[in-house]
């Protein structure tokens, strides 16, 4: 078993690390304070191929493997979890379903600009009545002639009004339960498609999270993604892949929290010595370091499973569950190690703590991850 990164993975890691340190780190705090979307950063990431990293070259992507993708997301998240989620949603929740389920024409028309970073994607599954109970889709899609008419509301959607291409799920036939749900490709500007509230969030504040409103939104019939009635399956498979992205984001937050804690512990002196020599600080750091390393192993393993085309549903759920809970524990402890300074916005650890929380919630709550893992073990 070879745990070393390949040359390609090492070079990618170095490049993304350089980019992050020069372009993202210096403005991450300001982006959070102002709740400002990282427009320039996303544009530059698009230019260097990060927005469609794992999409094959023939569809405008870079053709990188999933392990490389997790490395890139982790590096970005170390500086800014918000930028990381924008990249992750574009790659995992927009590019992936188009690649896996799109027709050739849909790939050329929608996947290529997303992969090249020319357009931004979003994933619209969650509704006010359908969170963990994703099957409870109230948004409807009715076919009339050669068009679909979509009515309903999606909320808590990452990239919301900023995105250009949306993967939307709607109920075509309620009598069929989950098999009545279909997936559609909606574009900004489609008639009857508008935006509602933009949320004011605890964390990942630069990321735009908001409502999508469909009022007799009508699109041509060729906008259906995959087959009728296969929407729920498409959503679940997409979320499986997306979990690897979120796990990487959480890992980046955890690593950044650990790095800052070690740095602070070496510099901060109390009782005449750096606090790094104190037993309780060392115990905390040992636990944090071990958890971060374990999270990294789970993330890499899930990514590897996907790359070698092994089933990755349970590994991805485990990675997301463990990495997100690690991010929460490690960032909480990081504030504690920083003492009073950790509570102040001058230091980034309070931002890591606020950003970490959502990783336990979106793309499947920790409870849902546990359900997925348990059912996988029991069946």
């Amino acid at each position: 078993m070879d745990f070393t990164l390949t040359k390609e993975q090492q070079m990618l890691q170095q490049m993304v690390r350089d980019f992050t340190q020069k372009e993202i780190e210096p403005i991450a705090s300001a982006l959070d304070k102002e709740g400002r979307f990282p427009e320039e950063i996303i544009r530059k990431l698009g230019e260097i191929g990060v927005m469609g990293m794992t999409v094959p070259k023939e569809y405008g992507g870079a053709g990188a493997d999933t392990v490389s993708y997790t490395i890139a997301i982790e590096e970005i998240a170390r500086a800014c979890a918000s930028t990381a989620v924008v990249v992750s949603v574009n790659n995992s929740l927009a590019c992936f379903p188009l690649l896996a389920f799109g027709t050739e024409e849909q790939k050329q028309r929608f996947l290529v600009p997303l992969a090249k970073g020319e357009k931004l994607g979003a994933f619209g599954l969650t509704e006010p009545s359908a969170g963990s109970d994703a099957a409870m889709q109230q948004t409807t899609a009715i076919k009339k002639g050669e068009e679909y008419f979509i009515n309903g509301v999606k909320h808590f959607i990452t990239n919301a009004s900023r995105a250009d291409i949306y993967i939307i799920f709607a109920m075509e036939d309620k009598t069929k339960g989950t098999r009545g749900i279909s997936a559609f490709i909606i574009e900004k500007g489609d008639p009857g498609f508008s935006f509602g509230t933009i949320e004011d969030k605890l964390g990942i504040r630069p990321s735009i999270t908001g409502e999508l409103i469909f009022e007799n939104c009508h699109v041509p019939a060729d906008r259906i993604l995959g087959e009728n009635g296969k929407g729920f399956k498409i959503a679940m498979m997409t979320l499986d892949a997306g979990r690897i992205g979120v796990a990487s984001q959480a890992l980046g937050i955890a690593q950044a929290s650990l790095d800052r804690s070690v740095k602070f512990a070496k510099e901060r002196e109390q009782f005449g010595k750096p606090i790094a020599i104190l037993g309780m600080i060392q115990e905390a750091i040992a636990t944090m370091a071990t958890d971060v390393e374990a999270a990294r192993m789970l993330v890499r393993y899930a990514a590897w499973c996907k790359d070698v085309k092994q089933s990755y549903t349970a590994p991805a759920a485990m990675a997301k569950l463990f990495a997100s809970e690690t991010a929460m524990r490690v960032s909480t402890k990081a504030i504690q190690i920083h003492g009073g300074y950790g509570y102040m916005k001058d230091y980034p650890v309070e931002r890591y703590f606020r950003d970490a929380k959502v990783t336990e919630i979106y793309e499947g709550t920790s409870e849902i991850q546990r359900l997925v893992i348990a059912l996988n073990a029991i069946r």
């Binding site: 390949t6 390609e8 070079m11 990618l12 490049m15 260097i48 191929g49 990060v50 990293m53 870079a62």
Partner: protein, 264 residues
């Protein structure tokens, strides 16, 4: 336009420590990077190509590990890279190095522009660019913050400590650049994957570039390094006390005696 860029792989000296016993750099475990000024040289080369067409060739004289630096260049979008590597090059000072690089430049075929970074962060001599230009027998403009080409004519802007100079010259010519000239692009994901999956960077030996054995490596190096050491800490310093006029006179005298300031 045929553009040749010379780069060096260096230890990332922001990370480097001095071994207290030997007084020399501890290189082990220190990451290697493309010399920062050289990244601006590569970028300038790529921009000239984007404007005028042609190709960008990057050369680096170094040990086999310098291949990593060239792979990054390839991932940035340069057309060709050559590693100039041979045991016979070991121990080269800047004169032997610049002779070797000049021979390598000539080996790439007809060329119009050579671009180098101003200086390397490990040696800090800034001698390579000027010496390569002399070896090639072409005009040189150093410390460039702008290179404007029209046909065969060039106007280059040089940054000096107290201002700027505009220098007019003609191709073929060599330029050394400083960081103000541009913002280097990042290697793209596609570029990295391409260079890793089909790496075609050749290594040239002394024979390949028709280098004379007397002019390369230790043989070709007039400079001999007898000792490397970290300077002694300067100590507490001296406080000059008294009336401002008298103190200033005393201070100026001390500065003159130490050659820090010169009398005009």
């Amino acid at each position: 336009m045929n553009i040749v860029v010379c780069i060096k792989q260096v230890p990332d000296t922001t990370d480097v420590k001095i071994d207290p016993k030997t007084g020399t750099l501890v290189r082990e475990g220190v990451p290697s990077i493309i010399n920062p000024d050289d990244t601006h040289a590569i970028e300038e080369g790529l921009r000239l190509k984007e404007k005028f067409g042609g190709r960008v060739v990057v050369l680096s004289m170094g040990p086999p590990q310098a291949m990593d630096a060239l792979m990054v260049c390839k991932a940035m979008g340069v057309d060709l890279c050559y590693l100039i590597s041979d045991r016979a090059f070991a121990g080269a000072d800047t004169l032997a190095t610049s002779y070797t690089l000049a021979k390598a430049v000539q080996a790439t075929g007809p060329w119009d522009v050579v671009i180098c970074g101003r200086q390397a962060i490990d040696g800090d001599t800034a001698q390579i660019g000027p010496q390569v230009a002399e070896a090639l027998g072409v005009p040189q403009v150093t410390y460039c913050t702008e290179i404007s080409v029209e046909g065969r004519k060039v106007i280059a802007k040089r940054a000096l400590e107290d201002g700027y100079e505009l220098i007019r010259t003609e191709l073929p010519a060599l330029f050394t650049v400083i960081k103000d000239i541009n913002k280097p692009r990042y290697p793209s994901v596609m570029g990295i994957i391409s260079v890793c999956r089909s790496c075609d960077i050749q290594t040239w030996t002394a024979k390949d570039i028709a280098a004379s054995p007397k002019m390369i490596g230790l043989n070709g190096s007039p400079t001999q390094v007898s000792r490397t050491f970290a300077p002694e800490p300067k100590g507490v310093g001296q406080v000059l006390k008294g009336e401002p006029e008298a103190v200033v006179k005393e201070l100026v005298k001390k500065l003159r005696d130490k050659n820090v300031v010169r009398v005009r």
